[in-house]
Amino acid sequence: MSAVTPAATTPAAPADAGPGHGLRVFLIWLPLAVIADLVIWFVWGPHLPPGAMSSSAANQQSDIKIMAVLAAPVMLFVITYFSYALIVWRQREGDTEDGPPLHGNTRVQASWITVTSAIVLSLFIFGTVELVSSNGAGAGEGPSPIWKPGGSPLQVQVIAQQWKFTYRYPQFGGFETTQLVLPEGQWVAFHVTSLDVIHSFWAYQLGVKADANPGVDNVAYTKPEHNGEFVVRCSELCGLWHGAMFDYGRVVSLPAFRSWAAATRVQLAAVTKVLPPYATTYDPTVVPQINKALAKAGIGGANGYYYPPQDPVQP
């Protein structure tokens, strides 16, 4: 209820100077704020992005919902106050007098500062608790994360380069594929890195976003909760075809994932042998090697390059 207090104190304080303007603003504002908050919580809240496909997505959804519930009364209060002022305190036709010379009101100013500080500090505590309790909230945590789930999560390496993502599964022999398949109900650790410029791995429905920096292993955690398809987009401008750098991943049941991983491991065994050994980061000079390897496996582009080095045609 901290959002209600600022509004309650601020207009009420200067009310002694007039015929209940503060009370009127408060009475107009209160039902509006209550209705807005109820609508946000019960009607809009369950549909707020990014949904609840994974633990981090659900965590972000609840953060956005709670902040919306806090923000709506504040916004409505300012808008109600200004609307009231513009209607009631217009200068009438023929009136040339000035308004009352009020230079300030210590009580109003002090309570405003107290209330806004209280809101801000509680938001900070709330945000920090949410960040820590959700194991990093799906955001990139750098090479040595301090907030991480227990046990041994599934390792998935995301290798970004202009203008594609590929994925390596080190726990399954380190094969590299363009398909992102994840098991349901298991913690996943994304190790995001880049071979050229800065990209950002954004699995929208999973609520995961981690920048792909060359030479950096950026780790993000999430736990997929529902089967289905999700979209992966690059969300850091990375050059010419940034706008077309997207693909799709899917969350499947644990047995389906195991059989997919085993099958892909066998299928790509020849490629995996040519690939550089799994590492958290790669030297960019391995790109030609990967291209050669993928061409050998028959999944290369027209001239043997999976990632054309320059002047790409439209994907």
Binding site: T10, H21, P49, P50, Q60, D63, I64, M67, A71, V78, I79, F82, A85, L86, W89, R90, Q91, E97, D98, G99, P100, P101, L102, H103, G104, N105, Q109, V120, L123, F124, G127, T128, A139, E141, G142, P143, I146, D196, V197, I198, S200, W202, G207, K209, A210, P214, G215, V216, N218, V231, R233, S235, E236, L237, C238, L240, H242, G243, A244, Q310
Partner: protein
């Protein structure tokens, strides 16, 4: 030891001793824009040749006959040629050589004609008008790029522009807006009005002030010329491995942004010294107009933040030309270094873009509420608080980057703390509106629009400060909508308020108020219908700067695009009004049309040369509306000797203390 005190000597505007009159020359031989352009062309050719000569063994760019080195040297010498052609260097070189500086010839064209606006003028009022027209041109150019971006986004798959043209448009729009609009209020209104508002006859450093303006067209033209070199594919942020990898258009980005950095350092430096040292007697800190406070705070940000940008741009240039490795991971550099440098400048910069807007609206509302500004000290404290805190928040742009992950709670705290001083601006406004006598003039409408838009922009910023929520919002259209609400909805609305409010003062001409109201309502409605849906678009997962998006978002994207064209039409109404009122109709407005108590309104419009006949003595604050028996704001004709006596008194007091 006695200090030798010399009697005050007549000084030229540059501070040197006056010499003989400059010989009268025909107009085409006088330094002005055309000689500057000639100097720039010559400078570019010489620089390009020199670069090829010195760096003949450097790796050549693909599809080009040169490397980056001659292009960079060409741009740098073009800037020197531009300034030399303007005559910027004449007097300083004479001074260095110990020769007297000739005084300006007193011909009519130099003193009052249109020609002085195309010259290196040392009059702060001329510089203010130059900035005003320049900023409107830059804003409209960059706005056209925005409309081109929206044209491409009409369809999720069908491409009007090639992907390379699209990223060029994105880069040019973003960079032009973000680098040139830093001066959109400090330039025109800061330079023109601060001396008038503090009761000074001049600014502290007229040469530095004029130089700061004349660097902006150079930066604008250089950035624009990047299109001829293939543009740059990295938006306005220029993140490092990409900006090192990019083609020669990236040189234009780095040089132009660096130049603009120098320009805002110079502009800020001049305003800081002017405000501190050139206040009239009686203009205490507690009587300083709130707009001057905002200019002072902005200038401090400019002077302290922009050097970091200049350093970053310098490193990009050396990485690109002479193969240093500041940002190359394999060679011991770091791409994080650039992100840190850029945002250490970049976040104070967004407050460089916010504070002047706060200043203008806070200055305007007491006039049209006919009430004193509520909580004057709170307003000034809010601005100082924002200034200080803005240096401690920059890593919130890097929450997902993997840099200092354990510091994220700290940056979340500082970012949320900055909403407290920003909230003061709303407290001040709401207190001022309490029982006011509100007059709905065009400047007041724009000020109200600013409060509405910035409220949405500010609240959405709180969502972005929360790390979990930011994970979804970062890099999406949500961020883009957020900063357009604060910059376009805040700064540009305040800029428009300032134009409608102060143009009668600056030019002695009133803009058409009917067209002004039409401009406001169209701009307010179409601004909101353009950017409000973009919050939803971003939340639905559309990344910024991408030309392909999910097909189910096409309807809302089309709505946004059409609104943005209408928004462009609204700006066109403004341009028509501006040209119509100032060139064709020229309705004179010499008095004080808003019945303002501001000191700047106590002199005739446009202000005479030298602003005040005598240095005024300020008697009371600028916002004493409705105060019975409030003294006039200043005595414009203090009896001879009063000012010097006041100074003498101060000196004695200082000596005793």
């Amino acid at each position: 030891m006695a200090i030798e005190i010399q009697p005050e000597k007549v000084q030229g505007p540059g501070g040197g001793e006056p010499g003989a009159a400059r010989p009268a020359r025909p107009w085409w031989l006088r330094p002005a824009v055309h000689t500057a352009l000639a100097g720039a062309v010559i400078g570019y050719i010489v620089g390009h040749w020199l670069g090829n000569f010195l760096g003949s063994n450097y790796q050549q760019l693909p599809l080009s006959d040169s490397s980056d080195f001659p292009i960079v040297l060409g741009y740098l010498l073009a800037v020197v040629g531009w300034l030399a052609g303007l005559g910027v260097l004449n007097d300083p070189l004479r001074q260095m050589a110990g020769r007297p500086i000739p005084i300006e010839e007193e011909d009519a064209a130099a003193a009052s004609g249109l020609a002085r606006y195309f010259r290196y003028s040392l009059d702060h009022k001329v510089v203010g008008i130059q900035y005003l027209v320049g900023m409107i041109i830059y804003f409209c150019t960059a706005g056209l790029f925005a409309m081109a971006i929206r044209t491409e986004l009409l369809s999720p798959v069908h491409h009007i522009f090639s992907s390379s043209t699209y990223v060029e448009l994105v880069g040019e729009h973003g960079t032009m807006m973000m680098m040139l609009m830093t001066s959109v209020i400090v330039g025109p209104f800061g330079n023109f009005l601060v001396p008038l508002m503090i009761g000074s006859k001049r600014v502290a450093f007229p040469r530095i002030e004029a130089l700061s303006f004349w660097l902006t067209p150079a930066a604008f033209l250089i950035l624009f010329s990047g299109l001829m070199l293939g543009g740059f594919p990295f938006g306005w942020t220029g993140y490092a491995p990409l900006s090192i990898q990019a083609g020669p258009g990236a040189d234009s980005y780095a040089i132009a942004f660096g130049l603009m950095g120098i320009s805002i350092i110079l502009a800020g430096f001049n305003i800081i010294v002017t405000v501190i040292c050139y206040r009239a007697p009686g203009m205490r800190w507690s009587r300083l107009p709130i707009f001057v406070w905002s200019m002072l705070a902005t200038s401090v940000l400019m002077v302290l933040a922009a050097p970091v940008l200049v350093g970053g741009m310098y490193m990009i240039i050396t990485d690109r030309t002479v193969q240093t490795a500041f940002f190359a991971d394999q060679l011991g550099g770091s791409s994080y270094l650039y992100q840190n440098l850029f945002w250490f400048f970049g976040h104070p910069e967004v407050y460089i873009l916010a504070l002047p807007g706060f200043g203008i609206v806070s200055e305007i509302i007491p006039v049209f509420c006919r009430k004193p500004l509520f909580g004057y000290k709170t307003a000034a404290a809010g601005m100082i608080g924002v200034t200080v805190l803005s240096f401690f928040v920059w890593q919130h742009h890097l929450f997902d980057s993997g840099i200092n992950p354990d510091m994220r709670p700290l940056f979340m705290l500082t970012t949320e703390l900055i909403s407290i001083p920003t909230g003061f601006i709303y407290l001040v406004a709401m207190g001022t509106f309490w029982k006011a006598k509100i007059r709905f003039t065009v400047p007041m409408l724009f000020a109200l629009g600013m409060y509405f838009n910035f409220l949405i922009g500010g609240i959405s910023g709180v969502f972005l400060s929360d790390v979990p929520a930011d994970t979804t919002e970062h890099g999406s259209f949500f961020v883009m909508a957020h900063f357009h609400y604060t910059i376009m909805g805040g700064l540009i609305f305040a800029f428009m308020a300032g134009i409608y409010y102060w143009l009668p003062k600056m030019m002695g001409i009133k803009l058409n108020q009917t067209l002004g109201k039409l401009h406001f309502w169209t701009m307010f409605i179409f601004f909101n219908s353009t950017f409000l849906p973009l919050f939803a678009v971003g939340m639905a997962g559309q990344p910024r700067r991408a030309f392909e998006y999910a097909s189910n978002l096409q309807t809302v994207n089309d709505w946004v695009s059409i609104s943005s064209f209408c928004l462009g039409g609204s700006i066109l109404i403004f341009v028509i009004n501006f040209v119509w009122s100032t060139v064709i109709v020229r309705e004179r407005e010499v008095g004080n049309p808003w019945q303002s108590r501001g000191l700047e309104w106590q002199v005739p419009s446009p202000p005479p040369p030298g602003n005040f006949e005598r240095v005024p003595v300020v008697l009371s604050g600028p916002y004493e509306y409705g105060t019975p028996g409030a003294p006039p704001v200043a005595d414009l004709h203090p009896p001879a000797g009063v000012v010097s006596a006041a100074y003498a008194g101060n000196q004695t007091a200082g000596a005793e203390a």
